[in-house]
């Protein structure tokens, strides 16, 4: 009994702080602090939000953004996991890959956008490529450190019980690294929204980033907020979904 109520209580508490912030924001503007033309109240934004949902405009932009995020996320994270595991298993791989990561990771990924436009054109491909590149690095680094820090005893057990390299890879290194892989995926998910929305400011006519930038040019501040809020909501839903998947995939992780 206490377990259920405890969990419900935690969930409520989880919602309390963002709701409190919104209420405060609404009250301050209604009290006359700030100009509502430039800083809309949450209720103004909600009204606009509803209108854009009803017209289907928001769904269209959201669909485009989600497609780009998820395509890029998968294309970037799967090789990130694979290379990260190989780095932990084979020293030569690590020696080759390490300096590349050190040099490429700090480059702001958005700086690659012009190059990617050259390579992939103005369509979805250039945005997906950007997300994939941005996602690759946090995933590879987390996967590698997860796999490299697997306790020595598990390698010993596997060797003593006759595990081949392939078995080591599939059944020991991958699973041993899985908690850290998920930590990397969670960061990667946030990073993919961050770079994509920035990329959508230029060279596209669809997506949440476009919506935000376009509303700046038209000085529709409430639409701008609708875009920003939408990114936040999408990020939240995606993260919660990822955590649910993690719970299913890692049943051995102590609660």
């Amino acid at each position: 009994m206490s377990g259920v109520t405890g969990k419900t209580k935690e969930r409520l508490l989880y919602l309390a702080s963002p709701i409190g912030l919104l209420v405060l924001w609404q009250l301050l503007l209604m009290a006359g602090l700030g100009d509502r033309r430039f800083i809309p109240t949450p209720s103004d934004i909600a009204a606009r939000y509803w209108q854009m949902v009803a017209s289907g405009e928001l769904a269209q932009h959201t669909g485009v953004t989600l497609y780009r995020v998820f395509a890029g996320f998968f294309i970037g994270s799967i090789p990130g996991i694979a290379v990260g595991l190989l780095m932990a298993m084979f020293r030569p791989v690590r020696i080759v890959v390490d300096p590349l990561i050190a040099a490429l990771f700090p480059i702001p990924k958005i700086a690659l956008m012009p190059l990617l436009l050259l390579a992939f054109g103005f369509g979805d491909a250039s945005k997906i490529a950007l997300v994939a590149i941005a996602v690759f690095f946090p995933v590879i680094i987390n996967t590698y450190s997860g796999a490299a820090n697997i306790e020595k005893i598990y390698w010993d057990v596997a060797r003593n019980f006759g595990a081949s390299q392939q078995v080591m890879f599939r059944r020991i290194v991958f699973f041993g690294a899985l908690p850290m892989i998920f930590a990397g995926l969670r960061i990667a998910l946030a990073v993919s929204f961050i770079v994509l929305v920035a990329a959508e400011f230029v060279a596209t006519k669809a997506g949440i980033g476009y919506l935000i930038w376009n509303s700046w040019e038209l000085l529709q501040v409430d639409v701008m907020f609708v875009g920003i809020v939408t990114v936040g909501i999408l990020g939240l839903i995606a993260t919660v979904a990822l955590q649910e998947i993690e719970r299913k995939v890692i049943p051995w992780k102590a609660e």
Binding site: D156, N160, F161, G162, A163, R171, F175, G176, W252, A254
Partner: protein, 265 residues
Amino acid sequence: MKSQRRGAAVDISGLRREYANGQGTVVAIDHVDLSVAPGEFLCIVGPSGCGKSTLLRILAGLDRQSSGSIKVHATGWAVENAMVFQDSGLFPWMDVETNVRFGLDTRGVARPEAEARVEAALKLVGLGKFRRHYPHQLSGGMRQRSAIARAFVTDPGMLLMDEPFAALDAQNRVLLQAELVRLWEQTGKTVIYVTHSIEEALLMGDRTVIMTAQPGRIKQIIDVPFPHPRDLIQLSASAEFGRLKLDIWKVLEEEVMRARAEIER
């Protein structure tokens, strides 16, 4: 029900293992000559750092000697050895059943046969009902039982055990010692059991090897005169047991003191 099969025989001669560290070389074990009879239960005791774990790891194929030779004759057994580690070494991401099956999967045993053998091994250690549990859901004693099942299921000629019960509470330790001796009596496997406890060595073993402090050498080998099958609780309360324990402690004490002086120097 005594098994007709006899476990692996081991011949160790002139074994030496040295490591390079910052200042030079450290000799972990040196001049180790030892013959283990088929089906023998051999215990190795010594002060910490005496290289007893190193010896076991070399036997397990997890480390290599610098010089000397090891010959193991394990014909008639599916695998030469299987190790039981101090803190079980169960893979946390596999349930008990999958952990126990691991050494069969790696050796390509067909699934129906593997499952039947896992079933039998789990029954042997009394964990049939816990097959779907993950290691973190088990007590320390149950984890070690699983690790023993995982070793037994591969049908090794020799079991290598590295202080497997050291982390258990006293009651659980006694239970598991008795179970291990029973399993050993039934299966005829050779057991090489590393421990720091003289009592444990005398309770279970046929012979006890006492090792010196670093570098680890064999100081003395003591024949344990108690016949099998043994009642471990009764045995531990007997006067003869107490006398033998004291004798061994006197031999070992010197080495423990020497090891301590070495550290404090």
